[in-house]
Structures are given as C-alpha cells and as structure tokens.
C-alpha cells in the first residue's frame, strides 16, 4: 500500500478548483454569437392542441426562429425512446409511449415542451413565448398513481386503463401455495413518494454545428456522453459520428442527468437551423416541471410466516407511475430494478411480484439514486419490521432468525441474483452495539420526560449495483512518466478523478500530481458506460487497474533493455520511493519514470498506451445496517433524528473519505424522502403544487445529527479489486430505518405504519387521534 494508493484517505484533488469557483460547468461555457433557446411549456396537464400560431412571435425583436412539432416532423426527428424492452405478462400488451421532443396534437403534462424559441437574449425569447398563440382544448387529467387504472381520464387514447405494462416476476403458483399454508400472513400497504432530484446545478446544454465537418457538438451536463451521443444519433436518424457530446463539471446528477431530454434534441436541431450555437439553461422552476422525477409507487406487500416466525414467502403488488411517456430506462426501474431485490438479506423461499406501470398526466419518472433498489429495501424492511411487531418478536431477533448466513454464500435468490458475499447478521450486531441499543430504554424514558416519544428503527439493506455494461480505460504515458487517463464514466461530483488516481498510483507507484483524467468527451474517449448504478469505482476502477497493468507490460521490454536482464526476470515493485522494475534475485532496479524516458514515443508523443477493460460478471451487493433513533415532539409532532448509526459492507475500500461522503449524502437524501420531500400535483387540474423550494422541502444540515459511520467489510468475491458499489447505499438504507424508528416511537399510540414523508402535522395527528381513540 502506498501513500496515495488504494485504501488511503486521499483528499479530493477536484476540490481546489471546485471550491474556488474555478470549475467549468455547462453554463460557464460561452461561444461567440451564441443564441438562447427557450421552451414554451404546456400550462395544462391534458389538452388537445387545436392550433399553434407563431406568426406574431416570430417577428418580435431578436427572434431567430420558433420551432414546433411540425418542424421536427418535417425533418424526420423521432421521439426520445425508452430503450429497455420488457416482456409483459402473458395475454397483456406492452404500450411503449416514447417521449415526444415537442408536443404533437396533445399535451399530456404540465410543463411539456410545446415550442422552442431561439433568440438573441433570454428576455426576448420569453417575450416571444408569450406571443405564441396556442389554442388548447382542455381535457380531464389523472395524476394519481393508484387512481390511474380506474380513472376515466386517459393519457393515451389507445392505452386502456392507462396501463403501460403488466409485468411479473417469480413463481406465482409456488408463492400462492406457501401463502395458502402459512401460519400467518402480514400485509402492508405502502406508498413510495414521488421526488424531484434537485441537483445544485440544474440541467443545461449548448449545441453548435460545425458545418465544415458536418458534426453537431453538444455540451451538456450528463452522466455519460456516449449513451447521450448514441441517443441523439438515433433520434436524428443519423450516424453517431455526426454527434460529439461533451460534459464538463456536473453539479449533481442522482440518475436524473442520465436521460436524454427534449431540450438537448431541440438545441442540436436549432443550432443546425439557425447556424449559430444555441444554449439552453433550466431555471429552477423549469427543473421542477421538466426534470424526470423519481420513485412514485403504491404497493401492497405480504409476508407468509410459519409458526416459528420463519419467512415462507413474499408477495408484492406494485403500481408504478411512469408519467405521461416512458423515459429512457423507465421500463426497467420498477420491474427488474426493484423486484430482483425483494429477497433483501433474508432466506425467502418463494417470491412473486406483479408490477403495473401506469401512465398519468405528469412528467416522466425514471431512475433516481438507487433506481428501484431503495423501493425494494423500503418494502422489504418495512414489511419485516411490521411482521416482527405483529408476532411479538424483537425486530432484530426476527431479522436474525431469517437472515441468509455467510455460510450460504454464494446465495442464489428466488428471483435470480447470486449474492457473492456478506455477513448480514454481522453488520446488524455491530450496528446495534455501536448504537448502544442496550441503553435505548433509558433514553426513551428520558425523552418521554421531555415531552418526546423516542423510537429506534433498524434496516438491514442489501442492494445490487456495478453490474451490467463493461468499462474501458486508456492510460497514455508521456516520456516524463506522467499519465493521462481516458475513461467513459462521468463524475457528477463524486470525486472519480481522485479515486482513479489512487488506483493508478497503487499500480504504477507514481505521484497523483503526475496523473490527469479526461472524461466527458465522446471523441477523445472512445467508449464509455457513463455513471449510474454505483458502477464507476467498482467497474471503472477495475478497468483502470487493468489498463495500468497493461502499461507495465508495455514498459517491461524497455526496462529489460535498460537493466540488461531477461523480461521474465523482472518484477514490477511499488515502494514509498515509487514504482519500477527490479531484477529478481538482485538489487538492480529502474524507476518507472526512467523507463518512460527511455521508451520511444509514438506520433502523439506517448510512450505507452495502456488499455484496460472490465466486464462485470455480476452485480456487487453492498449491504449494511442503519440504526436510527428518532424522537417525535408530542406537542407538535416534529420528528428529530437523535442518533444515526450505520455499519456498511462495501468490500474493499478505495478511499474512506470519498466513501463516507457518499454515505452521508445518501443518508441525507434518504432522510429527505422519509421526512420532507414530496412532489404533489393537484388531483383535479393536474397542476404541480410543489414547483419551488418554497413548497418542496429539501433536507438541510440541521435535520441530521452527526452520523456514526463504520465499516465491516467482506471483500466482494466477483470484483477484482474486492469493491462493492457505494454511491446509492445511503439512500437505500435510510428510508426504512427512519420510518421503522417512527413506528417504534408511536407504537404505543397504536400506529403500525406511516407513509413518507412523515411530516410534523401527519405525526401530530397520529398521536392526537390515538389519544382521542383511547379517551373514547
């Protein structure tokens, strides 16, 4: 292990520029002569567009062009596709409704793009937008997830009951059988609340067309340039070589910036038409109306138990809101994304899940930090907790009784995942001890004296990440021994640059200052899977290591020449003094930088081009236990998190600072979902009610105590670095732990469940109505 290598708490090399305002975000880029794009959005949730008249608006000062669906149609621009195929239940029909770039004939959610105005300035564009005459015939709207299947309003005329898909997983007959002979069935109805990602940096893009090369370049805040490029090429029906996508700094993505949005297509289209760069930058108000949302499920979950409290089976019936159209990955998130994790950390012999995706008159819903796994963990860990309470068992004991033991690894779940490693009971015990559960009754009594009801909640989560697409890495070495890493993952603020430097420093024994990284350029970096599903460090990191190893292979003959030794006698060593080749059985040694200096540069001035690639054979399965103590003020219902303990298993740790930051952020985000955040639409008009931070409550620093974070790692058996993905885990464990704690706090008042977000008025009413019921 070296000073800057794997496992070291190396501070982020990005922070110097980011904290000093020297970062370069999309909206920092300015092109000579650039124009402003502005989207005229639907004010209605559902309406027929009878006509659009842009005549007056187009003649206003500074207006370059105004585009509507007719222009796109004429140019052969296709809808933005949902790219994940889905095999629906036998006898049912999949209705794939892709997202139009501009509304054609109907608007189906408030904020849907209707026209794109290109002007010299933003205010000119906004003035023109007010002068575009759109004749709408308003229609009834449905926004509510559970109501969509029976509501008379139809989002798409040819989709009966608004049912996008009816999908299932698992063995229904076998599961029904175990339920039929179960000693007890525990049922829980729960809502996974709809959220807006709200990154600090909103979405933005800048398109320019190089007429000579006939290439359209899009600078965009994304989570991966290659998928974005391919998506654009598909929508335009052109070769992908005609699109060059760049991403600079990104101020938070959380899944939401993975997707191709109408504005990006419009900017490219407009830049070609007006022959000038066209920039579009979301306002915060637009972000609430146009960013894809997350979560939004209504579920019925059931657990079958035997007489001893052993789990026999689990059933879930899930309705998932898709919004008005299917976003890029919408069909995956609540189907396989969620249901494959319904085993949790437990031995559950039979599982069956049915998921119905429904269309509503709301903007599309897609991946959001965790992308289905938080929904699964919430469902499982809430259901487990409820079951323990119903049969009068201690929630920790009930978990222990049903947990998959380490001896069962690798463990194949009924829904097809193979857990490679994990000591679930181990993290549970460690977390309970660190949380001083033994001292909880005394703390509860003391809180009661202060007018607060204290509860303790446990969630032992597991999630699946860092599987799927391969990642490639290229390491270009210069004669001075410096390394330029090219990689197709995309930091959104996580600190990839620091982490990858550590992998390279570990393998090659060079200083971090001698390493630079290029990401976010679809021409310079040939391939890339982007960043999502906590894949960058486990998958990208493994590719980087492979590439660094390839550098050593290429350097070996040069070193052999310098050392006048046989290549096979050389061993690459990394010491505190740096990396280099040693001759086995002698004290002869040549530092790596001398090898680089002696090697012959290629035409680009590089002496070695290390190529690495890693294809994950499987997901990794990070897991851990969150223990939360939360108090509820009896007078007001205000919840306050008093203690937060988390013990995680992320396998081998690359950088404990970055890791803990990910966990803290994830927990804050999960806490936001559990206690504060909710996207609400008016059920009659379909208008967005929480369209700003005045009404949409975000988590703040004073909502959280210091988090007691520790690790109990079991190295991943399927990842070459032993890593398990860590980007989403905090958000996955937090929600169930917090709600379990609230239910524990209010259990004496007869409360068995509270939906998220559990706000003060909701909690106060639960206490108050229970009081009234007791009095009566």
């Amino acid at each position: 292990m070296t000073k800057f290598g794997i496992g070291q708490p190396v501070p982020r090399s990005e922070d110097t520029r980011l904290l000093r305002g020297a970062g370069r975000y999309t909206d920092d880029v300015r092109m000579p002569g650039q124009k402003v794009g502005y989207v005229l959005r639907s004010p209605h949730a559902h309406a027929a567009i009878l006509s659009i008249d842009t005549t007056d608006a187009a003649s206003m000062p500074g207006i370059q062009a105004i585009f509507t669906a007719a222009d796109l149609k004429q140019a052969g621009i296709k809808d933005i596709p949902c790219v994940v195929p889905l095999r629906v239940r036998a006898g049912t029909t999949l209705h794939m409704k892709h997202r139009p770039v501009l509304a054609d004939g109907f608007v189906r959610h408030v904020g849907e793009p209707v026209a794109f105005i290109v002007a010299d300035s933003l205010y000119q564009a906004m003035d023109a937008a007010e002068a575009v005459m759109v004749d709408y015939d308003m229609l009834d709207a449905v926004v509510d997830t559970a109501a969509a299947l029976t509501h008379p309003a139809q989002v798409h005329g040819d989709v009966p009951a608004n049912l996008a898909y009816d999908w299932e997983k698992g063995n229904r007959t076998a599961t029904d059988d175990v339920f039929a002979r179960a000693a007890r069935i525990v049922r829980l109805d729960l809502i996974n609340n709809r959220l807006s990602a709200n990154p600090l940096e909103g979405r933005a893009c800048l398109a320019e067309h190089d007429t000579g090369a006939d290439i359209t370049r899009l600078t965009v805040g994304s989570q991966g340039v290659h998928d974005m490029r391919d998506m654009l090429a598909g929508i335009f029906g052109e070769d992908r070589a005609r699109f060059h996508v760049l991403t600079h700094e990104v101020g938070g993505g959380f899944g939401m910036k993975l997707f191709c949005y109408p504005e990006y297509v419009l900017a490219c289209f407009a830049a070609r038409k007006v022959d000038a760069p066209v920039a579009w930058t979301s306002s915060r108000a637009e972000a609430f109306l146009s960013d894809d949302h997350g979560r939004d499920n209504v579920s019925v979950a059931e657990l079958a138990l035997d007489t001893e409290g052993r789990i026999l089976g689990l059933r879930a019936d899930i309705i998932a809101n898709m919004g008005a159209y299917l976003s890029n990955y919408a069909t995956y998130i609540q189907t396989d994304g969620q249901t494959k994790m319904l085993s949790g950390v437990y031995t559950i012999p039979a599982i069956y899940a049915r998921v119905r995706g429904v269309y509503t008159h709301t903007q599309p819903v897609d991946a959001y930090r965790g992308a289905g796994r938080p929904e699964a963990a919430y469902l499982v860990e809430r259901l487990i907790d409820k079951a323990a309470r119903e049969i009068g068992q201690d929630p920790a004991a009930f978990r222990r009784l049903n947990m998959i033991p380490p001896s069962a690894m690798p463990y194949r779940t009924p829904l097809g995942h193979v857990y490679d490693s994990g000591d679930f009971a181990g993290t549970l015990e460690a977390a309970l001890e660190r949380a001083d559960r033994a001292g909880f009754p005394a703390r509860r009594a003391k809180a009661r004296e202060q007018g607060r009801l204290l509860g303790l909640g446990i969630a032992t989560y597991i999630e699946a990440c860092s599987g799927g697409a391969p990642e490639a890495a290229e390491l270009l070495v210069k004669p001075d021994g410096s390394v330029l890493l090219l990689i197709g993952t995309q930091s959104n603020g996580q600190g990839h640059e620091t982490a990858y430097k550590q992998v390279i420093a570990e393998v090659l024994g060079i200083e971090p200052d001698a390493i630079a990284m290029v990401q976010g350029d679809s021409q310079v970096v040939k391939t890339g899977g982007g960043t999502g599903g906590s894949r960058s460090i486990p998958t990208g990191g493994a590719a980087v290591r492979d590439g660094a190893a390839d550098v050593i292979s290429q350097a070996r003959p040069v070193a052999a020449r310098l050392l006048e030794a046989d290549e096979h006698a050389l061993r690459f060593e990394v010491t505190d003094a740096g990396g280099g080749f040693a001759v086995t059985g002698s004290n002869r040694f040549v530092p790596f930088i001398e090898v680089a200096a002696a090697a012959k540069p290629d035409a680009d001035g590089h002496v070695f081009r290390g190529k690495g690639k890693y294809s994950p054979p499987s997901n990794t399965f990070p897991n851990g236990t969150h223990v939360v103590e939360i108090s509820v003020e009896i007078d007001t219902g205000v919840p306050r998190i008093e203690r937060y303990t988390v013990v995680d298993d992320f396998g081998t740790v690359l950088n404990p600072l970055l890791l803990e930051g990910q966990v803290h952020g994830g927990i804050a985000q999960g806490m936001g979902q559990a206690l504060l955040e909710l996207i609400r639409f008016d059920t009659e008009s379909g208008q967005l009610l929480t369209g700003s931070f005045m009404d949409y409550a975000m988590p703040r620093a004073d909502h959280l105590p210091m988090i007691d974070f520790s690790l109990r790692p079991v190295p991943c058996a399927t990842n070459p670095l032993g890593l398990k993905g860590a980007g989403e885990a905090g958000a996955i464990g937090a929600c169930p732990a917090i709600i379990n704690a609230l239910v524990d706090a209010l259990a004496d008042h007869g409360v068995t469940h509270v939906d998220m977000p559990a706000t003060a008025p909701v909690l106060w009413r639960l206490i108050h109505s229970a009081k009234a019921a007791t009095a009566a």
């Binding site: 205010y123 906004m126 108000a285 007078d635 007001t636 504060l676 609400r680 009610l689 929480t690 931070f693 005045m694 009404d695 949409y696 409550a697 975000m698 706000t759 003060a760 008025p761 106060w764 009413r765 108050h768």
Partner: protein, 261 residues
C-alpha cells in the same frame, strides 16, 4: 422579468412624487420579495423607485423608552443592533431568524411590513407591541396597519420611513417554520406592557391577528399555564398542503406558551 423604468431618488419627496405620478410604479426596498416576483414575471410594474439612496432611512435610535427603526434597516442590522438587543431582545431574536443570511443582509423591516405577507414574522411584533408606523405623511398605529392578505393601511404613494417600537416588560416571539420555505407556518409574538398583554399571531391566518382570549387569560395571570384548556378556533385559519387549519390552531397554542416561557 419584464422591462421597467428604474429610479433612484435621493430625497423622500422625490420618491413620493414619482409614486404619485405613476400608479403602476413600485417601491424597491431590499427586494427580497419583489425581485423574485419580477424574475418570475408575476408582476409588471412600470417603474421601480429604489429607496436605497434616500438618506436617513436606515437609522436605529433610542426614542423615549423605546426604539425607532428606519424602514430600510435590514433584518441583520436589527438583529445585531445593541440598542434593539437591550430594549427588545425578542425583536432582535425575531429578526435573527428571518430567512437565511443572504435575505437578512438585504431584506428590510419596512419592506417586510409593507408587503404584509401572511407568513412574515415582523407583523406579529408590530401588532403585539403596538408599534407606530411613520410614513412620509402620518403615524399609523400598528394594530390598525395590517388590513388583509398582502394589504395595509398605506395609501397609494405613501412611503413608510420608520417604525417606533415601545419597550415592553416581556416581548418574545415563537415561530414554527414551514420545513420548505422556513416562513412561519405559525408564529406568535407575546408582549406585556404594564398590565396589558397582547398576543399577535402570524402565519396562521390570511393576515396577522390578535388572539384575544389568550390575551385576557394572560392579563389575568401572566404564565404559560394560564393558557391551559384554551384552544384557538380553527375556523378561518389557513389550510394548505403543508398543514391544515386544525394543526395551525393547535400550533398557535403551543407557540403562545413558548413565547411566554
């Protein structure tokens, strides 16, 4: 934002003249409500008349047994002013918890009061302390100033210049913040001057109002438990997605007790 004219007069008389000459002109104080409203194109004033160059509007001075605060004094200035902290620490504390640091450094007491947002904090202090609002032409009693939702006794073209807050033996504000905006979901200011007690409630209704039953109980005995069994009628209180009227009514009781303790 739509286009508008911008004036920055250096005399109060010029401010008044500009406002009288153009009924669609708006006064700009700290701009913490007005500028976001303009940016969202929710208002279309013909002109903004900026008060920032008019001299003498930011001063905080002792007067009688109380304190006179210039209408352009920022929340931050009120919060940290030694005189205010000595005479009415409850008022300084109220100012210290408005919005965030940026808002407190720009937003002004006069702007907040003239805007009469139903969830603003200052109106509760103005009514509970029976402050006197001085304008370019007259003094207005605090109890008569707020006339409805975003409505005040100010006449067209009338400009607030300062506020006089009398000293009180007890003056304290308790607020329950909306978790999103951190405006008052409900706030109660309780003030005791001599034998008279006033309890003014903000955030819970369409405009600040006095809770007379609580005032009577506290006048008889100034103690939190004097409010035991007293519940504000929820009828007519604000009900929205954040909290219904019954919860707000309950909160007012809780906050009134906290404003005494």
């Amino acid at each position: 934002m739509y286009g508008f004219d911008y004036h920055r007069p250096t005399a109060l008389a010029d401010v008044v003249a500009l406002l009288i000459a153009d009924e669609d002109a708006k006064v700009l104080a700290g701009g913490q409500t007005l500028i976001p409203t303009l940016k969202q194109r929710l208002a279309m004033p013909s002109a903004l008349v900026d008060l920032s160059a008019v001299p003498g509007l930011r001063e905080i001075v002792a007067e009688g047994d109380g304190v006179r605060i210039g209408a352009m004094a920022t929340h931050a200035a009120v919060a940290r002013n030694a005189l205010v902290r000595a005479v009415l620490p409850g008022l300084a504390d109220l100012a210290a918890h408005i919005g965030d640091a940026q808002v407190r450094n720009r937003g002004t007491i006069g702007g907040s009061i003239a805007n009469a947002d139903p969830a603003a904090d200052y109106p509760a202090a103005v009514v509970a302390l029976d402050a006197i609002i001085r304008t370019d032409r007259r003094d207005i009693a605090g109890g008569a100033f707020f006339t409805g939702l975003f409505e005040t006794a100010l006449q067209p073209g009338e400009v607030m210049t300062s506020l006089f807050f009398p000293a009180a033996s007890h003056a304290r504000y308790a607020k329950f913040s909306n978790p999103a905006s951190r405006y008052a979901m409900a706030g109660v200011f309780v003030a005791k001057r001599g034998d008279a007690v006033r309890a003014a409630v903000t955030g819970a209704g369409p405009s600040v109002f006095r809770w007379h039953a609580a005032e009577a109980a506290l006048s008889a005995r100034f103690s939190a438990d004097a409010l035991d069994g007293l519940v504000l009628d929820a009828e007519g209180l604000n009900s929205d997605m954040h909290a219904d009227a019954a919860y707000r009514a309950h909160l007012v009781g809780v906050l009134a007790r906290r404003a005494i303790a």
